[in-house]
């Protein structure tokens, strides 16, 4: 990461102080979410409606899928800025395969496979060649999206089959979309992976002190490599969903999503310098961002203005606890 010069202290007892700190962050997020939800329902008469709320989930599920994997990566002290470019490349290759008559299963395999391959490239550059992830992924970000531009230029791929569109537009039960079900499923999987397995503990260990983790027998490079592949995988999945939902591929697809995914992760309480964070926080942050953008959308606020709220939310939510701590120390 760019900044390793932050204070970091390890409590001598794990349970109480750490857990209460984590709880307070997530309860803050719940509070913010509830407030925004209430404001939304007063601000627009169209908000409290099953279909509106269902539409709302489309606002964040795809980005949040990436944020789940990104959270693990950031906790381990790395970052991936190339996720949106991976979406572009995966979507472009799916479109290319479509031109050669590929069927839905093949398309999905190509999308997900491209994601994993791109993640492996990032992982190799970072762990194999020992390069800083922020620069590597700025480079691969240009490279992956650049390849899409080479293939597509100013053209677009269209005409995805109905069975493929279902992934982005289909409903499993009533108003419950496939995307939402997939997101909930993945959130549970990532929760278990991070908070209930050895693998998850090692991710935290690496983020707190990679050298110490290495000496304690954690295969730091292998785990980081897996995390990059997972982030690539989730980007590939997001590419399938987004392409299916939009029904077309352009090289500029999903532009700027890397920053939104990282914003979700940081808003969710994951420390940008690594070593701390929770999946619950990331899920809550995703919901908050979905609520904010959808609520403002109902009020006809243009997307670019929403980004002010998202950016402001990011800074304010990070700054508030710090200001509070400073104020408490002073009195």
């Amino acid at each position: 990461m760019t900044d390793t010069s932050l204070h970091r202290s390890l409590p001598d007892r794990l349970d109480n102080p750490l857990r209460s700190a984590l709880l307070s962050w997530e309860s803050l997020l719940v509070l913010v979410a509830v407030v925004i939800f209430i404001v939304n329902s007063f601000a627009s008469p169209y908000f409290l409606n099953a279909w509106s709320l269902s539409d709302l989930t489309f606002n964040f599920t795809e980005k949040a899928l990436i944020a789940l994997a990104m959270a693990l990566l950031i906790i381990a002290g790395e970052i991936d800025l190339s996720v949106a470019a991976i979406i572009a490349l995966a979507s472009t290759l799916m479109g290319l395969a479509l031109q050669y008559g590929a069927d839905t299963p093949v398309l999905v395999a190509i999308g997900v496979g491209t994601g994993i391959a791109c993640g492996a490239v990032n992982g190799f550059l970072v762990t194999g060649l020992k390069l800083p992830s922020i620069v590597v992924t700025i480079g691969t970000m240009s490279l992956f999206r650049g390849i899409s531009f080479i293939i597509l230029g100013d053209q677009s791929f269209k005409g995805y089959p109905k069975s493929f569109s279902w992934f982005g537009q289909g409903y499993v039960w009533g108003v419950i979309s496939f995307e939402l079900v997939l997101f909930v499923l993945c959130a549970v999987i990532y929760f278990v992976l991070l908070h209930r397995t050895n693998f998850g503990r090692r991710v935290f260990a690496i983020g707190n002190n990679a050298v110490a983790a290495q000496f304690s027998g954690v295969r730091v490079d292998r785990i980081k490599f897996v995390l990059f592949c997972l982030t690539g995988l989730m980007s590939g999945v997001a590419a399938v969903l987004l392409t299916a939902r939009l029904g077309s591929t352009r090289p500029s697809i999903a532009e700027g999503w890397e920053l939104e995914a990282i914003t979700m992760v940081v808003l969710g309480g994951v420390s940008i310098v690594g070593g701390a964070g929770s999946i619950l926080g990331v899920v809550l942050a995703a919901i908050i961002m979905g609520l904010v953008t959808f609520g403002l959308g109902l009020l006809n606020v243009p997307g670019i203005v929403m980004s002010i709220f998202i950016g402001g939310l990011l800074i304010v939510v990070i700054a508030l606890p710090i200001l509070f701590r400073m104020w408490r120390q002073r009195t």
Partner: protein, 325 residues
């Protein structure tokens, strides 16, 4: 270390010469002085921005908000010019530097006083500043017809054979050279990047120095806001969208270490020129401009591999934390 750095810059310069020679083989007029000066002029803005970014990266920070700062400052100056054509250009330029520095100071205060990681702060202000462009302009454009003739013409005036824009790049580069090598502040940027803990013990205020780095990158972004708008004669919300990463790319190609403490003015200038030459060469040799992105991505990756080679031999301690009093 100095010899090594010189070595790097020599290699980068050779790479640039190689590209120019290869392109000239296909298209003989590419290497003509007039064309090379055009490329230099085209790259001026990127050079200045990359120098500002370097000051920040040296202190182990990063400024992702430079392009948004540029767009916001540019829009403010353009709207002022459209509304009050009488305001002289030097005043507008001074204003753009001030606005840019102010926006940079906002980043800097959050990093200094609240100790929020720079990547988080500037990720937030990246979206906030760009959103502000839309808010103040209402999504409308300011186009050539609304700008005053002076506003557009100023940077195109040829002085001693070079357009004013090129002179700006030269003067800013000279100022940065003096700042980085001859002033306590510039040396403090390096010191913080190499070893924050030792910097504290030598009496450097780490937080304030970082703040100054952000003010400088902001001021440069602000100045470039005016220059960009008057060069491309359009102010809109999309101005320089995604350009923050090109700026960082120029730094990385120029040998600036993202871990802080390593980088030189000469290297950054060459890094920017390298990107400028590539961008100008592609259309000349009939390669679709759509290749540009993939090529600069490859260049970044190659550069970072080479950077890592140079740094590894030194064995710097980068795991120590700073004890900011």
């Amino acid at each position: 270390m100095n010899r090594l750095m010189k070595h790097r810059e020599v290699w980068l310069a050779l790479a640039i010469v190689l590209v120019v020679v290869l392109v000239t083989l296909r298209f003989s007029r590419f290497a003509q002085p007039a064309n090379l000066l055009t490329i230099f002029n085209d790259t001026s803005i990127l050079m200045m921005l990359a120098l500002g970014q370097m000051a920040v990266i040296l202190t182990r920070s990063i400024d992702l908000s430079m392009a948004s700062n540029l767009a916001l400052t540019g829009m403010i100056v353009a709207m002022l010019n459209a509304a009050f054509p009488g305001v002289p250009i030097p005043a507008l330029m001074a204003l753009s530097v001030l606005i840019g520095a102010g926006l940079g100071a906002f980043n800097g205060v959050l990093v200094w006083k609240l100790d929020i990681p720079p990547i988080v702060v500037t990720l937030g202000t990246l979206t906030i500043f760009r959103g502000m462009v839309f808010v103040i302009s209402g999504g409308a454009w300011v186009n050539a017809a609304q700008m005053s003739a002076d506003f557009i013409a100023f940077q195109r005036v040829v002085f001693l054979g070079l357009p004013v824009l090129s002179w700006f790049a030269i003067v800013v580069a000279a100022l940065f050279y003096v700042l980085m090598t001859r002033t306590p502040l510039g040396r403090a940027f390096y010191a913080i990047g190499v070893n924050p803990t030792a910097s504290v013990y030598t009496g450097i205020n780490v937080g304030r120095t970082k703040f100054m780095a952000f003010v400088i990158s902001g001021a440069v972004a602000g100045l470039c806001g005016y220059l960009w708008i008057s060069r491309y004669v359009i102010a809109s919300t999309e101005v320089a969208g995604g350009y923050e990463l090109t700026i960082i790319a120029a730094c990385v190609i120029g040998g600036v270490s993202i871990a802080g403490g390593i980088g030189s003015v000469g290297g950054v200038l060459l890094g920017a020129i390298f990107l400028g030459v590539i961008n100008n060469a592609l259309p000349v040799i009939n390669i679709s401009p759509f290749w540009q992105m993939a090529i600069s991505g490859t260049a970044i990756l190659l550069a970072v591999v080479l950077n890592a080679r140079g740094e590894r031999s030194k064995g710097r301690i980068i795991l120590k934390t700073a004890e900011i009093a």
